[in-house]
Symmetry: D3
Subunit: 329 residues, 6 copies
Amino acid sequence: MTATAPVPAASAAVPWEERPAGTDTVLWRSSRNPIVEPAQLPRANSIFNSAVVPFGDGYAGVFRVDDTTRAMNVHAGRSADGVEWEIDPAPISFVAADERVAEIQQEFLYAYDPRVTWLEDRYYVTWCNGYHGPTIGIAYTRDFETFRQLDNAFLPFNRNGVLFPRRVGNRYAMLSRPSDDGHTPFGDIYWSESPDLVHWGRHRHVMGTVPWSWQSTKIGAGPTPIETEEGWLLLYHGVLTSCNGFVYSLGAALLDLDEPWNVVARGRDYLLAPQAGYERVGDVPNVVFPCAALVDRELDRLTVYYGGADTVVCLAHGHLSEVLASVRR
Amino acid sequence: MTATAPVPAASAAVPWEERPAGTDTVLWRSSRNPIVEPAQLPRANSIFNSAVVPFGDGYAGVFRVDDTTRAMNVHAGRSADGVEWEIDPAPISFVAADERVAEIQQEFLYAYDPRVTWLEDRYYVTWCNGYHGPTIGIAYTRDFETFRQLDNAFLPFNRNGVLFPRRVGNRYAMLSRPSDDGHTPFGDIYWSESPDLVHWGRHRHVMGTVPWSWQSTKIGAGPTPIETEEGWLLLYHGVLTSCNGFVYSLGAALLDLDEPWNVVARGRDYLLAPQAGYERVGDVPNVVFPCAALVDRELDRLTVYYGGADTVVCLAHGHLSEVLASVRR
Amino acid sequence: MTATAPVPAASAAVPWEERPAGTDTVLWRSSRNPIVEPAQLPRANSIFNSAVVPFGDGYAGVFRVDDTTRAMNVHAGRSADGVEWEIDPAPISFVAADERVAEIQQEFLYAYDPRVTWLEDRYYVTWCNGYHGPTIGIAYTRDFETFRQLDNAFLPFNRNGVLFPRRVGNRYAMLSRPSDDGHTPFGDIYWSESPDLVHWGRHRHVMGTVPWSWQSTKIGAGPTPIETEEGWLLLYHGVLTSCNGFVYSLGAALLDLDEPWNVVARGRDYLLAPQAGYERVGDVPNVVFPCAALVDRELDRLTVYYGGADTVVCLAHGHLSEVLASVRR
Amino acid sequence: MTATAPVPAASAAVPWEERPAGTDTVLWRSSRNPIVEPAQLPRANSIFNSAVVPFGDGYAGVFRVDDTTRAMNVHAGRSADGVEWEIDPAPISFVAADERVAEIQQEFLYAYDPRVTWLEDRYYVTWCNGYHGPTIGIAYTRDFETFRQLDNAFLPFNRNGVLFPRRVGNRYAMLSRPSDDGHTPFGDIYWSESPDLVHWGRHRHVMGTVPWSWQSTKIGAGPTPIETEEGWLLLYHGVLTSCNGFVYSLGAALLDLDEPWNVVARGRDYLLAPQAGYERVGDVPNVVFPCAALVDRELDRLTVYYGGADTVVCLAHGHLSEVLASVRR
Amino acid sequence: MTATAPVPAASAAVPWEERPAGTDTVLWRSSRNPIVEPAQLPRANSIFNSAVVPFGDGYAGVFRVDDTTRAMNVHAGRSADGVEWEIDPAPISFVAADERVAEIQQEFLYAYDPRVTWLEDRYYVTWCNGYHGPTIGIAYTRDFETFRQLDNAFLPFNRNGVLFPRRVGNRYAMLSRPSDDGHTPFGDIYWSESPDLVHWGRHRHVMGTVPWSWQSTKIGAGPTPIETEEGWLLLYHGVLTSCNGFVYSLGAALLDLDEPWNVVARGRDYLLAPQAGYERVGDVPNVVFPCAALVDRELDRLTVYYGGADTVVCLAHGHLSEVLASVRR
Amino acid sequence: MTATAPVPAASAAVPWEERPAGTDTVLWRSSRNPIVEPAQLPRANSIFNSAVVPFGDGYAGVFRVDDTTRAMNVHAGRSADGVEWEIDPAPISFVAADERVAEIQQEFLYAYDPRVTWLEDRYYVTWCNGYHGPTIGIAYTRDFETFRQLDNAFLPFNRNGVLFPRRVGNRYAMLSRPSDDGHTPFGDIYWSESPDLVHWGRHRHVMGTVPWSWQSTKIGAGPTPIETEEGWLLLYHGVLTSCNGFVYSLGAALLDLDEPWNVVARGRDYLLAPQAGYERVGDVPNVVFPCAALVDRELDRLTVYYGGADTVVCLAHGHLSEVLASVRR
């Protein structure tokens, strides 16, 4: 039995639109897309690849904001309905959780692509943290005002670190994607586990790329894995290399509940690929990049937050049961 | 005298729109572009780079369809007018023309960028066929329902194989572009000939790239060469490498009637370059890629089918005489 | 005291639009953008990265025109108001200023990205001139009809050569960016000086790139430096490499008045980045590339001419005082 | 029954040395290595990668000679004992076998890495022939004085074309390695067949590379395949990429007698790797490259001719039975 | 106070030769080099980059042996004097230390570049272990016969993992070099620590490369750090990239005793660079790669085991005091 | 008539050995090679690519010495006979020739590959000087003790700057090779001229690479050009790229006396290629790199100083008349 505090119930409804007539895709786009644009924040060049969780009466989030120097940072935000957002103009200033952490905070390089997870009794943020190369930063908050930073989980070079929302086999667990220091043209998803969120081991290869597909170049975990009876539902991004660059799409897989490094099923088709204008045109054309998902199990609703073209934040909706069915198809 | 069956006369008119007022370019776009879009077919990510021929009362075609796994395949289609298309939801399933062909069919990897040619007594399809790397697949059909596959024409790595519509010097003839196994940054057009469409030889270099031009990186044959009194009219694509990727444009050349590996004339200017929205924005931005052409010699009309941005099928129109004049200019 | 002819006063007003309501950026776009499009000129594929100066009652300019062979050339143009332009259909034909210059004119390869400067008693044009690789061409004109070409300033490989509008320390002076023969992924701004505009020396490194910023890959001088009391105002382009290619933005710096190879101040934020449709979509997506600026010191107005997406010419406006303030911020 | 002229019996003994005491490797080096050195021929930079066959009372060969311009050519040579060689100072001048072949002979680029095979009634030479990139040249001779050139077998880019010494299934047959135009970092062995040595088809993949081995980068056929009861014995080179370049070693495989595109067995260990000084140090360090083999079936002897360090010709000896056993191990 | 078993005293003397007359370098080569050659072991292609420790009456070691398939493996060996070695013909077969470890042992890919450290009560071996890319394997032995494998320390991609010989701050500690999956052209030395040798964290950057030097491309820890009063003496390799490949040399640094991620001093000069024939010529030319060191503090002797040219094992000698002095120079 | 001081007559004989019996190459190696080795100088890793001139009773030289940090520097040396050398243990410390030069001396990066020329009244040294990338440094000396540094001749990136030994057309003249910042895989020889050795212009392309030859990758001027009645004799290095790296050889060309940017004749064959052990094995295998030549016109002797394998200094001899003949062959 795990004695953790219950996930704070979201009193606000999960943002939702019904499937548009004439559509039969598993996921569909919000008619309000993009829901967050850079013009909302002074000195913002772009706001994208951001994470949202239920918080209090509504929602809180951690947003990737590239400013007009093109510095990459993360900002906190709050929303009543998950669609209209107030984002802090100043980046999150991480406080060292212990004195050793201060050693790695001496020079700020960059922070990007955050994820947020309620784990036991607080919200954990993971992100791509610049320390002699990209690696996985971890911090926690209870109020989205003070964020206490732990030590980086891994050696560089790593991106797309995503925590599981509960211990597995009595260990904290994280998915991540080892990479190199650049626009890495390869990358698989790995599992690591920890007794204390500081020391990590038992690294396992979970999933690799698939030749001749939308996920042939690299893949990376997206939102916090969603626990279901069938396994952990993992939404993730996959990348294909066209002759004119990377194309980022969104797909899904099911991981074993007890040994999540074993893949139970994996969808062949992407669930969302860059086809809307705000996904095709922007700072980086042809990008759909999911970082968070909200679930209303009772109403069988799944709402995904994803970045469009490395420029804006967007929403897609679907029924959880249909997404699960698509993975097993 | 070549004793071949006559090309079946197309009873349907070649799709056509007059040159728009205020335009003086040699080719102009159809106002109905794009004429085929992925939404027409379930599970299609994109439909593009496709080939059309007169067939029965109307037209038949072989379409490149990338599905939502981003697998690449070819599908048959039919149309009364060459503009409104019914495309088969299932890919073409090639039947081995002899037992040795079955040896190369054991694993399907991919099929893309088809061309179709009426040759002697049947329609031949050539395409980029995955066999330990890309090479040129050949098949024939009489009804666009059953397609019998011959052996691959060449060793890998090759793309853009295009048959001549009749024997030349009593030999079957094909243009192709040797390449490597990737987004090849080089490529010239070569000639090969065959007594039986199975064994190929007498390979000749036909045309190379042109520095400081729209065709400076690589070139590849487009539609089936069009026989004219002045020579074989070859429409082809040329690629320029900008700092943000490849740009595919369409140009024309004239090949000697009897020794088509000798170039009679070659247009300096492109005839079509990616400038419309559906050519600039899509899965691969900035692509115009021609695969078929219909000619009405009596009315001096030429209609080109081309892919836009690796996403849709488009039409361009022009007068055959003007295209020929532009090559000689 | 330098005995040079005064800069011919522009009797026409500097093109101008007031800052749009609700905008607080230092520079803002003209509502008439793009002000020059390829359709204005027969056989033009694109018109962009062009330079404008006051001339007679209005303005004259040198325009980069890529034609439908994608050859790169420069054309002269004239305008009454700096917005509506008449561009010569034929490229500038440079006359050798002395017999030795004829040696380097034997084969024309390309000419692109011009700048124009009034210096002492005539207009000088500098551009990227193809001579066994890109280097800096120099020519002068008094009437924008006859252009006399001097010898190339430097050995290849070089781009973005920009003259100062007066001698500094009794020497002619130029900024340039040594590079290599391709889509160079590096590049800093250097100073060189000359007694005669033919022989150059005293090369100094002026500014380099800035990691994790809009100018992390390479930088290059833009318009002719603008003399102010605080120093030479240098508008320049900076390039960031995303996973889908280069992104060109516009920024500013202040160089020391007497020793301009020393940087007095440098703005951290870009002043303009590709965000309008005509900057994001075109022959090269995501490009803002400044080549000229007009100043009305009395009205505190600065108008910048820049290329959009390597396809069109655009205008941006701002107050000189605010630009200077932004550099020092 | 195939009605071909018998292979001319070699009246001279196959060059041979017994296995040195204390050695238990399958192949061992000749104590006379290198048997051919560049100093033997005026203006030779290097002589290596050469092919030898029984001829008349002794042996004849085709030698790769790079001269002091580093031009690559092939020269004929004769020897009484297969060890002491007289090499013609002038390169082989190929006569066109028919008038169409003259079309590809207009410009000589390079000829290298020859193989020689007795086939039906004459000696065939294959080599890497420069024609808009490397491809496979074919010629025949009866006297090693006049060589008549056929058309190139394949489109570029190809290397290491090796003929079978008899028809298989009534077709001439060749192994080759499709590649690209450079120091190709990949390459597998393919089968092709022909009714007339001019037109080639039925291309089949035979063998690929093996990860984490001496043959992990690319492989290419070496001497003419040796017919045995167990199958065709194929000696071939395999390449490993160290951090300081390619390392070429020699290994063996057995191909099916009737369908040689099917591999019966393949040795895991190399049989010879660059370890002698003349293999480790030279124009290209660390190269062992086999091009010919002589067999004395009665005495169970196999003698291999191979190039050392792209500089000299060497010999290795072994017992045919032991080589076959090593393949099956 | 750390209650660990004492390092077993080596009853055999540290291998030693006095400095040759006329030499004044800090380290000098053994006149018996190379002390281990591939001919000592059947089916060995090369034996190099190996680690030695005092064991019983003499020495034991773990040797990198590449066999004649060029598979990479590690073998145990024993020696009375540290110079004459008996190496096991069969590779070490690692036994899973717990059932989870069995999950990563299902497929053996490669094992190379071992280090051995006496830590508390047993010998630990670390090596580059193939698991979806190179990472750091850990195992322990007490008898050099049975080796029990722990879980890999880190996610791929990593090489040159070296344990400290005692806990530091009550944590086990390792140096390693994050890299990518190839002949990585970059690489710094990092610190990581662990409570249990399974979970690792507190990763710190220790040392990077030095431009314009023998260590300008990458560096990696060599032997187990040697505790001295002045700090931990770290011998390491540094790599320079010449136009013909990597050059590996040996240098030294001093790390803080209590916070070894802080560098106290670092030698500018290399102590050994590839200059002997067996270091310049071999499977990989120009490599000196240290993996172990023996110290006789009383006699002020330091003996280093290093690989030569990725082919043989060599010895170098020096006085510990002089090596320390050279670091501080 | 040029009023310059006469070249100081060398009272010592040019080092010389007669052509060895049995040799018929144009150049032959000294039996005393290598004449300078790193062991001659404390802390020298290698001494190579060095320049020698007659001086006083004997010879003086500027030597490239890479030390044991692998820092690159130049040292002065003196010799009675041109073969036995005393090299200063300390690098040359350049004094700024004017105050502006001090601006570029603030940080020393590297100095390598020197050339020395007697010009008018003093000795000039040119070398590859690190200033934000490699460029051409210039200094002069009269005594090989004090060296006064002028400003760098060119913008980076440049190497192999070689002065002419007299003015041509009343201008100082230099050959150089523009390149990039790395192991540049391209490079041609250019001409530049100057009124004052500070400002340079009139840049002309002199010679490029030759495909399929020893000079197919890049070329660079070697010793100071030698004036002959037939033109300027230019000895230079040419580079070929094998699959295992660059190979540097030595060749010759004749430049027009009055317009040296025009090539009169160019030898097809190399005159020296790396074939001796000290040219094949060393820090960079397979390098012959000439930097100086001594001529005794009366005795028709030419002696070339060249670096071997980037490790040692060597001599080659030949008859000037035969070298000239070889160029015209």
